[in-house]
């Protein structure tokens, strides 16, 4: 049976006549969930989210309700909510669609969350390049204020909160929650060390802070609308709700597909939804959840045990689209931004392309990440340019091994994982790329990636 989309977050996106103004949103039941939430005690809203089993949609997949319960309430300091709309992980473009086509959904989710955690102030940190997206959110907030959904004494209650839309400046690392907080304080986006700087304890202005992804906010809205227990029936154990798969690269129909967690496989995603490979091509590999997740190679078998104890033996095409199954295959669901590579791709160039990204984006605080990312980038560029040596290939892996786990933030892993996962899988092809260039033989690859 072919898999189906299940559109909850994207229910209205792309529908003819659906617009970003509040009247349209209200006609579609908008802000009814806010009213429902405000009729509940804040803690009850938090409990619903915990019951739902929702995991954050920013990439790390941390359970949202659990995160909220970490807030330091004893300090007596104000609590802040920061919505992460930085959307900077390569291959990821899911939040963009909500921001540009249904901004009220994010605003409503933000207001519900702010109320649930009793935030004094909320921020939406949006990547600087989303210039018009920031305006759309600001307009949505202004409309919500005019309807008393936001601002002072929301819906006649004694709870008040403002939402500030804050534009970033084009830095990947400012998507990392503590880098984001520094950035929001008006500084360079240098991530902070944990401990002690767990945002829920020492976040924005050293106050307890929740940082959640923009789509997570939209998910919260639907949890409250349907109830946590009902939401927990969607998906599979350990991964509830829907995931928005944003496929890019070399498939017939790149695009965004919202699918119930665990209810389709990579094979169905790539063939049924995306139409399979381009004519005359064959798939070679995917990077499943944004460029920082480990690469998977077509033709490999994936064997192991799921957290449930069940044993599996899958081809790439058989891997179910849920967090636990994908993790059991040695990679991550991440942001759901799947990058597809086919046989027209020279893998060393693809790696050089990603290495260049991380070398450009390292904040430079930690020596292993700053130096490691640059070395990896230079070495892969050198191979692609024809000055490579065979020793370079194992050296890439050695360098990556020295970066992972040795940095303040997970940018170090983001630098290392693509290399650590790709080198063992594509070693022979990399060596062939080195040898062919050294012999001066023409390349069979026309596509330039670096």
């Amino acid at each position: 049976m072919s898999a189906q989309e299940r559109r909850i977050i994207y229910a209205h996106i792309g529908q003819p006549g659906y617009t970003t103004d509040i009247d349209c949103y209200l006609r579609h039941g908008g802000y009814e969930t806010l009213k429902k939430a405000f009729a509940m005690p804040p803690q009850a809203v938090c409990d619903e989210v915990k019951t739902s089993g929702l995991r954050g949609r920013g990439g790390a997949g941390f359970p949202t309700g659990v995160k909220w319960s970490f807030l330091d309430r004893k300090s007596g300091k104000p609590v802040y909510l920061v919505v992460n709309a930085d959307e900077s992980e390569p291959g990821t473009y899911k939040d963009r669609q909500i921001i540009y086509n249904d901004p009220h959904q994010i605003v409503e989710g933000t207001l519900i969350t702010a109320y649930a955690i009793q935030a004094k102030q909320a921020f939406i940190y949006i990547r600087g390049e989303f210039q018009h997206g920031a305006k759309l959110l600001e307009k949505a907030i202004a409309e919500a204020k005019a309807h008393h959904f936001c601002g002072n004494n929301i819906l006649g209650s004694d709870y008040s909160v403002e939402i500030i839309v804050h534009r970033g400046g084009g830095c990947y690392v400012c998507g990392e929650e503590t880098g984001l907080i520094e950035s929001l304080e008006g500084k360079r986006g240098y991530p902070r060390i944990k401990p002690p700087y767990f945002p829920a304890v020492l976040g924005l202005y050293n106050c307890p802070t929740i940082v959640n992804n923009a789509e997570t906010m939209a998910q919260v809205k639907h949890i409250i609308a349907m109830g946590g227990a009902e939401f927990a029936k969607i998906g599979v154990p350990g991964d509830r709700g829907t995931h928005i798969w944003g496929v890019s690269g070399l498939v017939k129909r790149p695009g965004l597909y919202e699918i119930e967690a665990g209810k389709a496989t990579f094979g169905q995603l790539l063939y049924d939804f995306c139409g399979g490979p381009l004519d005359g091509r064959t798939f070679k590999a995917i990077i499943p959840g944004g460029s920082s997740t480990k690469i998977l190679k077509f033709g490999d078998r994936f064997k192991g045990k799921l957290p449930s104890g069940e044993e599996f033996d899958w081809a790439l095409e058989d891997i179910p689209l849920d967090a636990n199954s994908i993790m059991a295959c040695g990679t991550g669901l991440g942001t759901g931004g799947t990058i597809v590579l086919d046989d027209s791709v020279e893998m060393i160039q693809a790696l050089a392309n990603l290495n260049a990204f991380y070398a450009h984006e390292t904040c430079g605080q930690c020596t292993p990440c700053r130096e490691g990312s640059l070395w990896l980038s230079r070495i892969t560029k050198r191979i692609a340019a024809g000055g490579g040596r065979e020793e370079d290939v194992p050296m890439l892996k050695d360098i990556a091994d020295q970066v992972a786990g040795r940095t303040i933030c997970a940018h170090g892993e983001a630098v290392a994982w693509p290399v650590q996962s790709a080198v063992p899988k594509f070693r022979e092809e990399y060596l062939e790329s080195v040898r062919r260039r050294n012999k001066g033989e023409p390349s069979p690859y026309a596509l330039k990636l670096i």
């Binding site: 400046g169 304080e185 500084k187 890019s248 693809a350 392309n353 990204f357 330039k448 990636l449």
Partner: protein, 179 residues
């Protein structure tokens, strides 16, 4: 105070600062605001922002140089940014860039001698499913394969003498809306 910025910009700056619990948080918004008015971040603007948000020019300079969106020197009238990250590259972004370089007679990273355009490679701008994508100022152009470069370049050149440029209505689904 700075003479580099319009009175409206200065007034807007005060409004922005008032939004934040701590005024230093207004650093990035003020840099964006100043750049939208003046085109780039000169030293006088750095000093102005520092005074406004209550920090030192050195701190603001540190911020302005950390974030790639801020220009420390004047750029072309039109700023063309081509995404080069993997999803776009797989769809031909490097070939798109080569075609743009030919069209405008400049290399990536350069500004045309007449100051008309600046051409730059940037990293992923979160439109990976419609690559290669090209940002022209605040417009997002999708699926700009090398074959479509000529058409885009002609459009960019036509805007150079268009007094209405940048003042158009935002129509859903257009490059301006998505920018």
């Amino acid at each position: 105070m700075t003479s580099k910025l319009k009175p409206e910009t200065l007034a807007k700056a005060d409004e922005i600062i008032a939004l934040y619990p701590e005024r230093r948080s207004a650093t990035l918004p003020l840099l964006h605001l100043a750049q939208e008015d003046h085109g780039w971040i000169c030293h006088e603007i750095i000093e102005w922002v520092a005074e406004k948000v209550g920090t030192t020019p050195m701190e603001v300079l540190g911020v302005a140089t950390f974030y790639p969106m801020f220009h420390r020197q004047p750029i072309g009238k039109r700023h063309i940014r081509v995404c080069r990250t993997l999803s776009c590259a797989l769809r031909g972004a490097y070939h798109t860039m080569e075609a743009l370089e030919k069209e405008f007679g400049i290399q990536r990273g350069e500004t045309a001698a007449d100051g008309s355009v600046s051409l730059e490679f940037v990293e992923c701008i979160a439109s990976c499913g419609t690559g290669p994508v090209v940002h022209v100022d605040h417009e997002l152009h999708e699926e700009i394969t090398p074959e479509r470069v000529k058409e885009l370049a002609d459009n960019i050149r036509a805007t150079l003498s268009d007094p209405e440029y940048g003042k158009k209505e935002f129509v859903p689904g257009t490059a301006a809306w998505k920018g």
